[in-house]
Amino acid sequence: MGKALRPKSWVLLAYLLPGLLIYSFVVLVPILAALRDSFYSWTGGPKKTYIGIENYKEILQDHVFWHSFLNNVLMTVYGLIGQVGLAFVFALLLMSKMVKLKGLHRTMSYFPSTLAPVIIAFLWMLIYNYNYGLLNAGLTKLGLGSFVQSWLDLTGPIVLLASIPLSWQNIGFFTLLMLAGLSSINKEVLEVAELDGATGIRKAWYIIIPLAKPTLVVASLLCIANNMRGFEHIYALTGGGPGNSSSVMALYAYETSFLRFRYGYGSALAIAIIALTMLMILLSTLALQRRRHQKGDVY
């Protein structure tokens, strides 16, 4: 752009500053404040006692926190299968010429994404309900009455059961994301592949998946970030229960601070969650990108 259009630097700053200020106030300042508070023992009153890294030492030995972390990881795994994986399959099907009513599929499957997570959680609470739940009613109708149970009281598969609503809500979004990625693949490549006899599953496996890798990577990273910070669904669906069996990190930090009034420890937990999440995203980025490079060498 020509020099004529370049504003003075104070004008530029004046335009950029409101956004940067409000963003910093809610994103950066709380992180810094949490970092500071994490070195104190503090119950919210005027008395703050500096205790160095004691809070972090406690985190290392905090079974509930690490159990919550594992739940986050488990939810991420379920999310990668149930959201990214299934969405990829549906997107492939929606790309093929076989499927009719594509507009309907796209519109309806994205609709749950627009609903509040709290409402999604209530809906699934009703589905899982023992006496009046859609799931048990369906099982009875299908003659599978022996499977009828109080779903949200099961400690074993509770994380899986809590992950299903999340997948249900987000699969439409990931399907759209995949469709966007798939539709940017060069049509000629696909046509040539078809002429060479690669159709159906073989075309998907040898041609589309390698070409869709960048989209799959982005989707996976988004899915990891989403699941590592999961809070609302769990808060509203199980409250972390039964016991602590479905607790996630953010919920545990919330309870520690707001129900047990341990603000110092809660702040340390916040820092730990950010650190762990960033670590997970970094590791998965490295892992996914390396694989992409290896593939890239082959072609």
């Binding site: 950029l16 982005v218 702040s267």
Partner: protein
């Protein structure tokens, strides 16, 4: 049911019989789509039943639709107050997001300046940072600045946490606008601000509309910050009010369902009114992101 639907729609589009693979794939997709809406249809018609009728048979349709549940839900949740609070916070947040993302997105698309890459990275960071980990420090911060429990409290985090994607969307949209338009405006003597507001803003209306609609959903549905930052009952938003309603009246299911339907009504209407634009917006955001 899905299979029948498919069979019916086939002859009109194709002369010969569909192959089994085609049928199976279509049936699978219809099943997927149906699973996305059947639970919602279920709470929709169940909300019109009496409690006794619902307890008697949870799947059957209501014998005579009852709107009493809706009346009760509106009264018990104070739905009008909740909606007003949500609408006020959401509309102002969306205006803020749209304005800031337009200016920031335009500038990042068109100008090079020191620290631009750092700024873009800084905004992207917001998409990855686990915001719910920050509930505690944010609450403490807002309390210290006496910003908690005000009618405008939620506007601040709602704008801040919804800037990342809109800035990228606007920026990539502006990159697609030919630079000659601005150069011509400059030759005609229009200043930078003049060009931005009088030339680019009208051209960017489509992307700004998309941004506004998408962020409407995220602000209207937000729960965590409302939970932490608001103690005053009269300021509660719809999702927050619903969660208290749920914990207090959890046994009257049809009534709870009526409340749920009411709370989803605005987003449902907006979604189905603008669905094609929303879907293309999400898809273009996905490609750029």
């Amino acid at each position: 049911m899905e299979l029948q639907l498919e069979l019916k729609s086939q002859p009109s589009t194709r002369r010969f019989l569909p192959s089994p693979a085609k049928l199976a794939v279509n049936a699978l997709m219809l099943l997927f789509t149906a699973s996305c809406i059947i639970p919602l249809v279920w709470i929709g018609y169940s909300s019109l039943k009496t409690q006794a009728e619902f307890a008697n048979s949870i799947l059957s349709l209501p014998s005579a639709p009852q709107f009493a549940n809706y009346m009760e839900a509106i009264k018990l949740t104070n739905m009008l107050q909740l909606s007003w609070n949500s609408a006020r916070v959401t509309i102002l947040s969306v205006l803020g997001i749209t304005a800031i993302s337009f200016v920031t997105g335009y500038i990042t698309a068109r100008l090079d300046f020191k620290g631009k890459q750092a700024m873009i990275f800084y905004y992207l960071f917001g998409m990855l940072v686990p915001i719910h980990a920050l509930l505690v420090p944010t609450y403490l911060l807002f309390k210290n600045f006496s910003l908690a429990d005000q009618w405008y409290t939620l506007i601040i985090p709602y704008i801040a946490f919804n800037l990342s994607l809109p800035i990228m969307l606007v920026s990539s949209y502006v990159m697609g606008i030919p630079k000659e338009i601005e150069e011509a405006a400059a030759i005609d003597g229009l200043s930078f601000s003049g060009t931005m507001y009088r030339i680019i803003l009208p051209i960017a209306v489509p992307v700004l509309t998309t941004v506004a609609i998408l962020q409407f959903f995220s602000c209207w549905n937000e729960f965590s910050f409302a939970l932490v930052l608001l103690k005053d009952e009269s300021l509660r938003t719809v999702p927050l009010g619903m969660s208290y309603f749920k914990s207090q009246h959890s046994t009257n299911y049809p009534q709870l369902m009526a409340g749920m339907i009411l709370s989803m009504l605005p987003v449902t209407i907006i979604y189905f009114a603008f669905s094609s634009r929303i879907i293309s917006g999400v898809m273009s955001g996905a490609v750029k992101g």
